[in-house]
Amino acid sequence: MSKDVFVVIEQREGHVQKVGLELLGEAQKLAAVLGEKVVAILLGSNITGKAKMLYEYGADKVIVVDDPMLKLYVTEPYAKALTTVIGLYDPNVVLFGASSIGRDLAPRVAGRVHTGLTADCTKLDVDAENGLLLMTRPAFGGNIMATIVCKNYRPQMATVRPGVMKMPERKEAAECEPEIVRVAFEPSDMNVEIMEVLPKATKSVDITEAKVLVSGGRAVGGAEGFEPLHKLADVLGGEVASSRVGVDSGWIEKDRQVGQTGKTVRPDLYVACGISGAIQHLAGMEDSEFILAINKDATCPMMEIADLGIQGDIKKIVPKLTEAITKFKASKAVDK
């Protein structure tokens, strides 16, 4: 019988990606309800040493396929490795990060093992009556949420966006030895040849890691309009983000886009500067701990969902706020 909650751990150049660890945390919750175990699957080359860390983040078992064929991500070798593992272990659930790798690999594998796959879930749950995985995801650009089940096929598979699930705590683990699975690769499995790896021109910023985000919308007005936002972000110890309009207009790089077609973020503080709050944008940030909105239009959707909505002109308020916070911090330092 199919059992256990498996998490496909994404690694790039041997570095375990955060989303896999987030999913180990979520898998622990699901596995506790199901009375099953959490199993991490690690695919890569020269990667076995990372297994210990996965035990520390809550895996009950770690399965490793360590093979030079898996050095860089190519769909077919990864799909073959994962299909082999699924065939050997018969998982109940398999979770993936909804990254550009997870969203390439998961559908291919779901197709091969003939099972259902739910993309970009924002919430996972177990149906108390029948033990089915309840996979909830946004659709229609975040306008509606749908809860999806996979009744008749196993494993139940889902991808989950990075930043949606909380990181579990890292603990000492007694176990550190992985189970090694060997996959009979053929040279023909490498059916796509990587000719070159190019870094992205600008250094990528991971806004999902930031505790504070100062985010700009249409009212920012241009690339130079982001300058005051950068200064505010600096005094708050955060990063600058943007709604779609800033990216589409070329004012700021795509890495910083929040929303349905950008990233999902949940910082401690989200400062929405002149963002009216299209539903696609709200979908990417509404779970932030505290939302501060500054907008001329007091009736726009962002002002409605904000924890603190300030009607006003960002061009005037943002620089003044930066100055005031700088002063405030200085005064606190003197007090000490």
């Binding site: 860089l72 796959l117 993309a119 970009d120 749908a146 009744k151 059916n191 007091a298 603190l308």
Partner: protein, 263 residues
Amino acid sequence: MKIAVCIKQVPDTTEVRLDPKTNTLIRDGVPSIINPDDKSGIESALKIKEENPEATVTVVCMGPPQADVALREALAMGCDDAILISGREFGGSDTYATATIIASGLKKVGFDLIITGRQAIDGDTAQVGPQIAEQMKIPQISYAEELKVEGDSVIVKRQFEDCYHIVKAKMPCLVTALSELAKPRYMTVRGIIDAYEKNITVLGFDDLKDMLNPEWIGLNGSPTNVVQSFTKQAKAKGTKLTGLTDDEAVEAIVAKLDELHLI
């Protein structure tokens, strides 16, 4: 070289609004468009055709008869012919079932290069492209930002979060297009006239039934089912301050951030 571009007709989700009273989607008057990533795929195929005059571009769409409009638009952009995959039996299909059906149509005709959009703006799953490739047992390259044909191979600049891979694959293969791949051209008047003279081939269940397992399609053949859909609950109201001077506003923000220990 035969190129197929798979497109989806979608509601323009940027135009979809919520009815604040009923909290339901207002879909009336929302225009249907060719999904943006797919349209970029069409443009990319047409560019390949310009450099390889022997190439043909067939646009393929699964959907209701009204999807005809999307196919006509693609023809008016310059595609050579169009296939509409349509039938009652196909309704309610999830991504697996949809890919099964579309793959059967593509196999029936036979293509060297298949281009799909990365994802559709109504579902956002990005699953149908890779699943078509799996059903056809051909390589896939997703997230294409550049695409060219060299001999019997494609060369693709494949986007990741932190880098690109320049990859090469032998045809037949499938490529999923990002919107960045190519900026779609406009329809020409000549193209629009031609589009209405061109024939759209309709493939129904009977045309494809020998190519697919009827138990794997439609609502009943779909591995996943929607059990519930809902609009998000509005969260508890925060504080809204209007009509303050800039200095009062700054003071209010600093006080709040201090209270929350954020500064």
